[in-house]
Subunit: 227 residues, 2 copies
């Protein structure tokens, strides 16, 4: 069985990616990273619930929980417990740049690539999408292409990087999740909000983008919001 490594935050993008790869008959190794983010414990709960959901359905899914607390201890970002408040509003506004976590995707990708090489997986798959490009330098196509080159060199050509959603926005991803894969996506278990609270706020850039995506495909978001 062909193996692949993905980063699983427990959000709608990475959970859709997991479902698509399971539909394509991959054995999927999911990495969830603990890195001191405000919404971290809720994300990890979502990721764990999603993995449990597929395990119960006898899908070939494995969960690697990776603690990077000391790696990110001195990092500067509003997304982290050590940073300022999470800004509200639309993703593209200037203030949302405070939520950039320096180098996050390269750190996650590098660890996933090392694991891939170790367990003989030929690919790592990232759920980055076009909605992230404006704010996050480490989600842009040029970055992903460069990281692919670097990981190919680092691994002696053994590990490739794929990013199937790189040209999609969140509504395209949902569309694929609902209509484009043979395995159901448990969106009711996913979590997108940046805030440290049980029910999603519906106001941070991440929530706003998610709600817009559900609206676009005319499906009601199945998760609970605080209002």
């Amino acid at each position: 069985m062909r193996k692949v490594i993905i980063g699983l935050s427990g959000g709608m993008d990475s959970t859709t990616l997991l479902a698509i790869l399971l539909s394509l008959k991959y054995e999927v190794h999911c990495c969830s990273f603990i890195y001191g983010s405000k919404h971290g414990k809720w994300e990890l709960k979502a990721a764990t619930d999603v993995v449990a959901y597929y395990k119960e359905k006898k899908q070939p899914v494995f969960h690697h929980i990776i603690d990077l607390t000391t790696s990110f201890a001195n990092f500067d970002s509003a997304l982290l417990l050590t940073g300022g408040p999470i800004p509200e509003g639309h993703y593209e506004t200037e203030s949302m740049k405070q939520t950039v976590v320096p180098g996050r995707n390269l750190i996650f990708g590098a660890i996933m690539a090392g694991l891939a090489e170790s367990i003989d997986a030929k690919e790592i798959a990232l759920g980055v999408h076009s909605g992230d490009h404006a704010i996050y330098p480490d989600c842009r196509p040029k970055f992903i292409d460069s990281m692919r080159d670097t990981i190919l060199l680092s691994s002696g050509g053994k590990v490739n990087v794929i990013a199937p959603f790189i040209k999609n926005d969140k509504s395209n991803i949902l569309y694929k999740g609902y209509y484009g894969c043979t395995i159901k996506v448990p969106y009711y278990l996913t979590r997108t909000c940046y805030k440290d609270q049980e029910f999603s706020c519906g106001k941070c850039g991440s929530c706003v983008e998610r709600l817009e995506a559900f609206q676009k495909i005319s499906i009601k978001d199945p998760i609970k919001y605080e209002n």
Copy 2:
């Protein structure tokens, strides 16, 4: 004061790098990584001793100890506690390839780059040298060049990667350490051996290369060996 991030293993290469950067009046932030290697506890002791040595001399040096145990938990390498025995003999022999830790330098570099961006350091510096090229894909110039591109993209042009020893072997590094920097290098505190034992073995590829380097510049290695 200009800041730089280095990876400090406590070996002779990274300790020389630290001394050179202090000679050049940098504020040096040293990252030491705990990643489940057999020689890890001895490396960390050496790195901590080196930092304490320079702190006592009032040098601008900071130590970030970063625990990556869960990141490397399922990695495959003879260098790790979870792997097979450390091979003995010369570095270039085929068996030494068992000591490759998949993706290690990219993981370390990615974390150092994120820290650099967070604390406004413009550069990360790596102690990789030509002696590593044959065995370790993630020490070769092409890899370092590619990682530099990737980190520049990831950080929006804020963080550069330098590798001052990339064309040097270990004897060149020692020569620079003894004769090319204004600040003394405490080689007696450094540790190079791959084995999990207090005194260096003198037989693993890493020890053999170190001993040859001291021989080449006609200086006696000041550390204790088991024989």
